[in-house]
Symmetry: C2
Subunit: 330 residues, 2 copies
């Protein structure tokens, strides 16, 4: 980060006092047009921006933006955090990441804190949050952006455009002769249901694939849940030929279980993830997955948040296109 | 998370009004001893704790604890965050994670925010922070715990006890006939220097190993820097037989570079990481590393912070023992 340009630097460049610069910025005392132009010119030339803390004290609003996510140990959210931070730092905002553990009580408490602290904005992936818990923060006029597979309330949304990717992934499975497909899905009580599961079941029949009800297992979006889910599926009378997972961490857990059970991926069973976090290309076999790029999601979320901070009130939705990435696991 | 016990529940159990419960808690109005005992009994039985926001409004101090780390995309810090959160949530504290990108300007700005917002505490891994930047937060009486390889100012510290692990790792290298050892170290300008490099060079000669000055390369603690560092080392006239990395992410970067260069690990060169994040056991070959357990580090940091919140003022240091973990890469 470059040395911060101070008000004193601006004053010197404009040939006025620091107090005069302050009057131009705050509008608290009148200054002549010539002085104003001179100060504004210096501000532009030097790239001066008001110290965030000073601005925060003036406006009564924090310069902090909360990113509220279900699992900070999932690298998707770590990368999302870095991306949002990169986009917002130029405007002086700091991003703090809060981990809810996918628990509704934590989600509610963290929103309450953001409200109490008068955060500049909230980007969140609601996992078990109910609509009413969100009304207070909306009422306080704090900008909110949701990053999720389904809309939440009537707020800005960044969401995957993943129909094509899912069709590509399932076409690939069908082409390699896998007909009996299982799904390690998310929990039954998640906010907004389980659209990733919905997309799979919606397209299966048309592509010649079968997703039998007993071959859908539910659990958290974690490595541990993936291992448990995979073991459950392998007990099935008609063992599936492919397993599609709700995210890559779940797929890594499925790999753990396959290794314990002595099953070969992709020989005995094909495995697909979702997200394409770095780990997907580090595990062996490398994981085929549906790439939902965290960096682009973060850029879109930050952009939506800044638009709201700058005055837009009508909600917008941005769709980030997902792609099927074929690797060695399928 | 269990349903929160409300003040109303306490009132009902004690057979008094909610207002009376509030008077007992706040001490704002006198109540009889019998009423006080009855309310306190109900509080104990029900496990009631004052709503964090209400308490925060009363004390003027936030219930938020800041974890300030150099790189949130390094799973060590994600796990540290989860661990600290698990330890503090029982006391009603919320942990927010701030990523500094290892930049001094961000470190300073985030400390300023924690001060401005009157955070309940700060746990940080200073990367380029200078001592003076820290005085303001100490002056405000906000508890601080540092998690780092070297002390920072005169505050609580969680730090590795890694001498034995480093000696074990290097003994293992010597036993497998690797004498010429290189180090992918951290940046030259990091706060507190580079104790991980220091531990390696301190023990090399006694163990019959050679760490030539041209075989020490410096860079950030990232995967990208690891790849760059490894490539530099491979240009050396006397190519090293083993590379020890400042952390596991750097070692993963070294693996990327080795793959590009067509070098076999451990056939052509042994590779060691530091930390033992999950990825260490997921990559192939599995990475030998010095295990510094993020979960235990988090437990210790949270404990130190709570002790300070509860009134301890004399600084304490907790050493968490690191262990050498031998896997396939060495």
């Amino acid at each position: 980060m470059a040395q911060r340009v101070t008000m004193h630097d601006v004053a010197r460049a404009a040939g006025v006092s620091s107090a005069t610069v302050s009057y131009v910025l705050s509008g608290k005392r009148p200054v002549t047009d010539a002085t104003r132009r001179s100060v504004e010119g210096a501000i532009d030339r030097l790239g001066f921006s008001l110290n965030p803390v000073a601005r925060s004290l003036r406006t009564g609003r924090s310069m902090m933006v909360a990113l509220v996510v279900p699992d900070i140990a999932n690298p998707f959210y770590a990368l999302l955090a870095r991306s949002i931070q990169d986009e917002l730092r130029g405007r002086g905002y700091h991003v703090v990441v809060s981990n809810t553990g996918a628990e509704r009580g934590e989600e509610e408490a963290l929103l309450q804190e953001a409200l109490h602290q008068r955060f500049a904005g909230v980007v969140m992936t609601p996992f078990r949050l109910a609509t009413d818990a969100y009304e207070a923060i909306r009422g306080a006029g704090i900008p909110v952006v949701v990053s999720a597979d389904t809309p939440f309330c009537d707020v800005d949304l960044v969401t995957p455009d993943a129909e094509g990717a899912v069709v590509d992934a399932m076409t690939h499975l069908a082409a390699s002769g896998r007909r009996n497909v299982a799904v390690i899905a998310g929990p039954r009580d998640a906010t907004g249901g389980d659209p990733r599961l919905g997309r799979i079941t919606a397209h299966a029949a048309a592509l010649g694939l079968q997703v039998r009800p007993e071959n859908i297992v539910h659990g958290e979006h974690t490595r541990e849940a993936g291992a448990e889910g995979f073991e459950k599926l392998m007990l099935s009378a008609r063992r599936p030929e492919a397993v599609m997972c709700v995210n890559d961490m779940t797929a890594v857990g499925a790999m753990d279980a396959a290794e314990r059970l002595g099953l070969d991926i992709p020989g005995d069973i094909a495995l697909l993830g979702h997200d394409d976090i770095d780990i997907a290309a580090l595990v062996r076999p490398r994981l085929s997955t549906i790439r939902y790029p965290a960096r682009e999601v973060g850029v879109a979320a930050a952009q939506l948040l800044l638009e709201q901070i700058d005055g837009r009130t009508r909600p917008r939705t941005v769709r980030v296109v997902a792609h099927f990435v074929s690797r060695a696991s399928s």
